[in-house]
C-alpha cells in the first residue's frame, strides 16, 4: 500500500510530499489511485513529473562503461562536459570511432579533451613576439622609464600580501576581514587539496604590510588575525596617508626589499582595502609594479583557469590551464552583474602581483587568535625628502558616525527646545542615560536652526543624529518625541517604532495622530520627570506605564 493516498489530500499539500518520495513504484501506484479516484489533472502532472525526474536520475551514465550507440550526439555532449579525465575521454573517443563513428560525437569528445588538456599541435602558428620598442617605435612609452614592463617572464612569485590600513593607531575593520580571508585562501592553497604550497612544495605565507607611525604596535594583532609575517615601516612623517611615500614604500617592499626570509621577485598576490586610501594606494602600487588591479572586489578565491585567449596562451587555438589564479569577482553596473577578473601572465610579460582591492564588509573578520605566532620584520630605508613634497596643512576628524538603528530607545528632540536649546539637549541626554540602550535623535528643524549651543552639548547637534526622510530611519521599541510636531518628513523616519510617546505643548500637533501615548506639556518640565520615573522604575515599562494614565 502506498503511504500517501493522493485522493485524501489537497493539491497544495501534495507538492512537498510527492517530491519527497524516491520510490518510482510507489509513485506509479499513487498515479493509479488518483486516476481511479478524483482524477485531478494537476495532481497527475505533479506525480508524473516526479516520476520523470527519478527515472532521469537512474539514467545517469558512467562514461567508462556506457554504450555509446545508445546515446544521441547531444547526450554525448552533455556527458563529456562532466568528464575531466583525459584517459577516460580518449577511451570514449576510441569506442565511438570503433562503433558508430559519428563526426559530431567525435568533435564533442575531441573538444573536451582539448579543453581539459590543451593541445600540443594547435591549429595556429605561435604568435610572433615583437618587443614593444620595435612594435611601436614612435612611442617612448611603454619602455622608456619602465624597466619592468616586459621580459620578467619566468620570475618567482610567492605569498599573499595584505595592505593593512590603519586609522588613528588602529587596524580598520576591513584590514582584519582581508587578513581572515587571506588566511583561509592560503591555508587551502598550502593544503594537499590545494597546491600543497609553492611550485617546490613549500608553504606560502600571508604577509601583512603596515605603513605609518608606530604601526609596529599593531603587528601582533595582524598576526592574530591571520598573518604569518608582518612587514612594517615606521616614520613620524607617515602618520597620515600620503600617495607618494606610501606607494614608494609599498613598491620597495614588494620588489627591492632584501630580507632573509624572501628570495622572490615580487609577491604573488596583493590585496588592498577598497577604502578611499586603499583605492588610491592599490592603483598606484599595481601601476608602478606594471601589473593589473581588480578594484572593489566582493569575493576572492584561488583556482585554476582554462584560458584559450592567444594573447595569454601564445598560440591561437590553444587552451592552457593556468594554475594558482586569483579569481576576483566584482559587481558591475551597480551590482546588476558580476564579473570575475583574472590577472594572467602573457608569454613575454608577467602580470604579477595579481592585485585586488576588497569592498569593506565583503568578508567576515575572524576571531583573533592571540596564540598565533608569526614573524615581525622592520622595513627600514631612508625616505627621501622629495617624497614629502605634498604637505598636510590641515586635517579634520569626522566623528565616528552615529548609528541610531538597533537601539531599544530613541529620545528625539525637535524645535520645542528652541526657548533654551542647550538645556533641551541636556534634558534629552539625561533621559538617554537613564536607559540601558538608548541614543539621542534630532529633527531636521533642530539641526538647520540658528540655535547656539554651549560647548558641552554642541557635539550632539550633527546631521548624523537626524531622523527622517533625509536622515536615519529608526524603529526602536520606544521612540520618545519631545517637541517634535511630526511633519511627514520626520514621520517616515520613525513611524515603524514599536511604541511612540509624544511630548508636545500643542495638542493639535500632527505627531499626536501617530503616537501611542501623548503627553501634553512643555518638554522642559516633562523630560526631567520622565527621567526620574525611568531611573526609579529602571525599565521601559516604567515609562509606558507612567505615561499610560
Amino acid at each position: 500500500m502506498v503511504e500517501i493516498d493522493p485522493t485524501d489530500h489537497e493539491i497544495a499539500e501534495l507538492g512537498p510530499k510527492v517530491n519527497g518520495i524516491d520510490d518510482a513504484d510507489e509513485l506509479r501506484e499513487m498515479l493509479d489511485l488518483e486516476a481511479a479516484g478524483e482524477d485531478r489533472a494537476p495532481v497527475k502532472t505533479l506525480i508524473e513529473s516526479r516520476l520523470e525526474k527519478l527515472e532521469a536520475d537512474d539514467e545517469e551514465v558512467d562514461p567508462e562503461t556506457v554504450d555509446l550507440t545508445e546515446l544521441s550526439i547531444a547526450d554525448v555532449a552533455n556527458m563529456v562536459r562532466g568528464v575531466d579525465d583525459g584517459d577516460v575521454l580518449r577511451d570514449l573517443l576510441e569506442r565511438e570511432k570503433a562503433g558508430e563513428n559519428r563526426t559530431g560525437a567525435i568533435t564533442q569528445i575531441e573538444n573536451r579533451i582539448e579543453s581539459v588538456e590543451g593541445t600540443d599541435e594547435g591549429d595556429g602558428e605561435a604568435v610572433e613576439y615583437v618587443p614593444p620598442e620595435e612594435k611601436h617605435p614612435d612611442l617612448d612609452h611603454p619602455t622608456a622609464d619602465k624597466q619592468y614592463v616586459e621580459g620578467v617572464s619566468g620570475e618567482t612569485y610567492r605569498d599573499m600580501w595584505v595592505y593593512c590600513e590603519t586609522q588613528q593607531g588602529e587596524l580598520i575593520e576591513v584590514s582584519k576581514e582581508m587578513l581572515g580571508r587571506a588566511r583561509e585562501m592560503m591555508d587551502e592553497y598550502n593544503s594537499e587539496d590545494g597546491y600543497g604550497g609553492d611550485e617546490e612544495g613549500n608553504p606560502e605565507d600571508v604577509v601583512a604590510v603596515l605603513i605609518g607611525d608606530g604601526v609596529d604596535e599593531l603587528a601582533e594583532e595582524a598576526i592574530a588575525y591571520g598573518a604569518d609575517r608582518v612587514v612594517y615601516h615606521n616614520d613620524p612623517r607617515l602618520e597620515r596617508f600620503r600617495h607618494k611615500p606610501y606607494t614608494e614604500l609599498y613598491v620597495h617592499m614588494c620588489r627591492d626589499f632584501e630580507a632573509e626570509w624572501r628570495d622572490y621577485h615580487e609577491p604573488r598576490y596583493n590585496v588592498f582595502p577598497a577604502t578611499n586610501n586603499g583605492r588610491d594606494l592599490s592603483a598606484l602600487v599595481q601601476g608602478e609594479l606594471d601589473s593589473g588591479l581588480a578594484s572593489d572586489c566582493s569575493d576572492l578565491y584561488i583556482d585554476d583557469a582554462m584560458i584559450s585567449n592567444p594573447a595569454k596562451t601564445g598560440k591561437p587555438g590553444d587552451s592552457v590551464e593556468f594554475e594558482r589564479v586569483l579569481h576576483m569577482p566584482r559587481p558591475d553596473f551597480s551590482g546588476f552583474e558580476y564579473s570575475t577578473i583574472l590577472c594572467i601572465d602573457k608569454p613575454h610579460r608577467d602580470f604579477h602581483p595579481q592585485g585586488a582591492s576588497v569592498i569593506p564588509g565583503a568578508f567576515e573578520a575572524p576571531d583573533p587568535d592571540p596564540e598565533r605566532e608569526g614573524e615581525v620584520v622592520e622595513h627600514d630605508i631612508d625616505l627621501p625628502d622629495e617624497w614629502f613634497q605634498v604637505e598636510i596643512v590641515d586635517h579634520d576628524t569626522l566623528s565616528g558616525g552615529v548609528d541610531l538603528t538597533g537601539r531599544e530607545v530613541i529620545v528625539a528632540l525637535g524645535r520645542g527646545i528652541g526657548e533654551d536649546p542647550t538645556r533641551g539637549i541636556e534634558l534629552g541626554v539625561e533621559l538617554v542615560d537613564a536607559f540601558d540602550d538608548a541614543d539621542l535623535g534630532l529633527s531636521r528643524g533642530v539641526i538647520t536652526a540658528s540655535y547656539v549651543f554651549d560647548g558641552h552639548v554642541e557635539d550632539y547637534v550633527t546631521e548624523e543624529r537626524q531622523i527622517g526622510e533625509s536622515g536615519q530611519a529608526v524603529e526602536p521599541d520606544v521612540y520618545i518625541a519631545a517637541g517634535i510636531s511630526g511633519a511627514v518628513q520626520h514621520k517616515v523616519g520613525m513611524d515603524d517604532s514599536e511604541v511612540i510617546i509624544a511630548i508636545n505643548e500643542d495638542p493639535d500637533a500632527d505627531i499626536r495622530d501617530f503616537s501611542d501615548y501623548y503627553i501634553e506639556g512643555n518638554l522642559f518640565e516633562v523630560l526631567p520627570r520622565l527621567t526620574e520615573a525611568v531611573e526609579q522604575g529602571g525599565s521601559i515599562e516604567a515609562v509606558t506605564g507612567a505615561s499610560d494614565d
Partner: protein, 554 residues
C-alpha cells in the same frame, strides 16, 4: 584649451513654452540646437496659473509651432471668463467675455508638467534632426565668456558648451539673465507672487457644478476684501479632472503686510463664494508657487547681450494687467522671434546681430507694447502716488462716489473689459482692493452659501506631499538677522511665522546674555520660487539638475 569645448550652433536653456518655441523654430530653420533642462522632466519645475492664449495678432502661437498641441497637451478650452468683486458676504460678478476674447484665437487651461513634457518630446524629435537634442537634469549655472564676450554656457553636470546663439528661457529666476546683468531681484514691487492648488474633481462633477457641457470650461477671477488689504486677486480655472485655484499678489504688498501666502490662498478656498463649486469636498493634489515678473516694470526693453537672448519670464515678459494675465503666449512669440532673428542675422551674414533684430521684432510685432504699455508709464507717477489714492478712496466712500458707481455699474464692467484702460491700471490698493470692494458693496448681491466650507490642508502637509532632494543647500542666507531677512519667514510660500518645518524660521537666540532675533534657513522644503531672493538677503541659485522640487501637475 577652450577650443576643446563642445560647440552647438544654438543652445536653448530651459524647456518651457518659450524655450520649446525657440528650439522648434530654430530646428525648423535647420539650426543645430541643443536644449538643456534642469528638471527631471520638462515641466517638473514649472508652474503657471493655467491659461495659455493664442492671440490672433501674434506672429507665433503654440499650435502653429506644435500642431497637435491643443488635443495632446492642453486640458480644455476656456470660454467663460468672469470676475467676482467681493465685499464681506456680498459679491458682484462682471462678465469679462469681451476682454477674454479680445484678439483671442483660442485660450486653453493647461497643467504644466503634462504640457511641457509633451512639448519637450516634440522638441527633442525636431532638434535631433539638426544634430542636437534635448537633455534633462542639466543645470546651466552661468555664462561662458572669452575676452569678456559671451560665448557659451557653463553647467553643473557638463563641461562648458559654446554656441553662436544662447537663448535664455530659464524662467523667472533666470541665472543667465542675472549673470549678464540684464535682470535682478532687487525690488519687491517688480514682482508678483502666485500660489496655486490643483484640486481633484471628477469631470462630471466639474461640468455639473460649473454648469458646463463637456469641452469648454470656465475661468473665474476674484478680487475685493477676501485678502484683507493685500493687493492681488484670485483665480479658478477648470481642467479636465481638476481645478486650478490660486492667488496672485504684488510681492511688495505681500512683504509689507507680512501676509502668509498659504493663508491668503486658504482665504480664497474657504470663502463662501467657492462653496457652490467645492461643496465641502476638497482633495488637494499639489501646492505650488512661483514669482511672476510684472512686465510693466521689468520687461527688459532690450533683452539681449552679445549672443544671449532672453525669452519669456527670463526677460520679464509676463503681462499681468488687472484681469489680463498672459505670459506663456508672449514667451512663445518671443521664442519664435528669437529664432527668426537669428536666422535673419545669419542670412545677412552677421549672426551677432541676432539680439538687435530680436529687439526690433519684439517692438514691430507689438509684443513690447503689450508688455510695457506706454499709457501705464505715462500715468503711473500720478495714479500710484499716495495723494491720488487718498482722494480716490475718499471719493469712493462718499455717497456721491457710490451713487456714481451705481449709475455707472455698466460702465465699470465695460472699463474692466477694455484692454486700453487696463493697461493704465495703477498698482495701488485702490484699484485692487477698494474699487472691487465698493463695487461689491454697492452693486453686489449676498452670497448664497451652498454646502459646507472646506478645510484646506496644513502647510506641513502641503510640503510633505511634495518630494525634495535638494542635495547641497542652493540658497545661502547672507544676513541671518531678522531685520534683514525676516520678511522671508512670512513671504516664503512654504514658511510661516511659528512654523518650524518651512524654509525660513523665526528664531530668538540667547548668547552671552544677549538675545538676537534671527532667521534660520533649511532649503529642503524649497520650491524654488525665488521670493526670498527678493525679500531677504541671500545668495540664490537653483539646485543642480534633477534635484529640488518636482511638480507632478504644475
Amino acid at each position: 584649451m577652450t577650443d576643446e569645448y563642445e560647440h552647438y550652433e544654438a543652445i536653448v536653456v530651459g524647456a518651457g513654452p518659450g524655450g520649446a518655441a525657440a528650439a522648434a523654430a530654430l530646428a525648423r530653420q535647420g539650426v543645430e540646437t541643443l536644449v538643456l533642462e534642469r528638471g527631471v522632466d520638462a515641466g517638473s519645475k514649472n508652474v503657471s496659473g493655467g491659461l495659455i492664449y493664442a492671440e490672433e495678432s501674434a506672429p507665433y502661437t503654440i499650435d502653429d509651432l506644435f500642431p497637435a498641441f491643443r488635443e495632446e497637451a492642453a486640458e480644455r478650452p476656456i470660454d467663460e471668463y468672469l470676475i467676482h468683486n467681493i465685499a464681506g458676504d456680498k459679491v458682484k460678478t462682471f462678465d469679462l467675455d469681451r476682454i477674454h476674447h479680445h484678439d483671442t484665437d483660442w485660450c486653453d487651461a493647461v497643467l504644466r508638467r503634462r504640457m511641457d513634457s509633451w512639448l519637450a518630446e516634440r522638441v527633442h524629435e525636431l532638434t535631433r534632426e539638426t544634430g542636437g537634442g534635448l537633455l534633462t537634469e542639466v543645470r546651466v549655472n552661468g555664462l561662458l565668456r572669452e575676452d569678456g564676450e559671451i560665448v557659451g554656457v557653463t553647467c553643473d553636470e557638463l563641461d562648458p558648451i559654446k554656441a553662436d546663439l544662447i537663448v535664455a528661457a530659464d524662467g523667472v529666476n533666470s541665472e543667465l539673465a542675472r549673470d549678464a546683468g540684464l535682470m535682478n531681484w532687487d525690488e519687491p514691487e517688480d514682482w508678483f507672487q502666485g500660489v496655486k492648488a490643483v484640486v481633484e474633481m471628477e469631470p462630471e462633477v466639474i461640468d455639473e457644478r460649473f454648469g458646463l457641457d463637456g469641452e469648454p470650461g470656465a475661468a473665474h477671477l476674484f478680487s475685493g476684501d477676501l485678502f484683507e488689504t493685500v493687493r492681488g486677486g484670485g483665480f479658478l480655472y477648470t481642467n479636465t479632472d481638476s481645478l486650478s485655484i490660486g492667488t496672485v499678489f504684488h510681492l511688495d504688498s505681500l512683504a509689507a503686510e507680512r501676509a502668509e501666502p498659504h493663508e491668503l490662498l486658504n482665504a480664497l478656498l474657504t470663502h463662501p463664494l467657492l462653496d457652490q463649486w467645492l461643496q465641502g469636498e476638497y482633495e488637494e493634489r499639489e501646492y505650488a508657487a512661483k514669482l511672476v515678473p510684472d512686465s510693466k516694470k521689468v520687461a527688459h526693453p532690450s533683452p539681449h547681450q552679445g549672443r544671449l537672448l532672453l525669452v519669456g519670464d527670463a526677460g520679464g515678459q509676463m503681462q499681468a494687467q488687472g484681469p489680463i494675465i498672459k505670459g506663456m503666449n508672449h514667451a512663445v512669440t518671443a521664442g519664435g522671434l528669437a529664432a527668426e532673428a537669428y536666422a535673419d542675422a545669419k542670412t545677412r551674414g552677421d549672426p551677432a546681430k541676432a539680439g538687435e533684430l530680436y529687439e526690433r521684432k519684439l517692438n514691430s510685432e507689438g509684443v513690447m507694447d503689450q508688455l510695457r504699455p506706454s499709457r501705464y508709464r505715462a500715468t503711473r507717477a500720478i495714479s500710484e502716488s499716495g495723494v491720488v489714492t487718498g482722494v480716490g478712496s475718499t471719493l469712493l466712500n462718499s455717497p456721491v462716489g457710490s451713487a456714481g458707481l451705481k449709475a455707472l455699474g455698466g460702465v465699470a464692467e465695460r472699463a474692466f473689459n477694455s484692454p486700453f484702460l487696463l493697461g493704465m491700471v495703477p498698482d495701488s490698493r485702490m484699484s485692487y482692493v477698494e474699487i472691487p470692494i465698493r463695487i461689491a458693496e454697492v452693486l453686489g448681491e449676498p452670497i448664497e452659501g451652498e454646502g459646507g466650507t472646506i478645510e484646506p490642508p496644513k502647510l506641513a502637509d502641503r510640503i510633505g506631499d511634495l518630494t525634495y532632494d535638494v542635495g547641497d543647500p542652493h540658497i545661502e542666507l547672507i544676513d541671518d538677522s531678522y531685520a534683514a531677512s525676516g520678511t522671508a519667514v512670512t513671504a516664503c510660500p512654504v514658511s510661516a511665522e511659528g512654523f518650524g518645518g518651512g524654509c525660513y524660521r523665526d528664531e530668538r537666540v540667547k548668547t552671552n546674555g544677549e538675545e538676537k532675533h534671527l532667521v534660520s534657513l533649511d532649503t529642503q522644503p524649497c520650491i524654488e520660487c525665488g521670493t526670498c531672493a527678493v525679500v531677504a538677503d541671500t545668495h540664490w541659485e537653483h539646485p543642480s539638475g534633477g534635484k529640488g522640487v518636482e511638480y507632478k501637475r504644475g
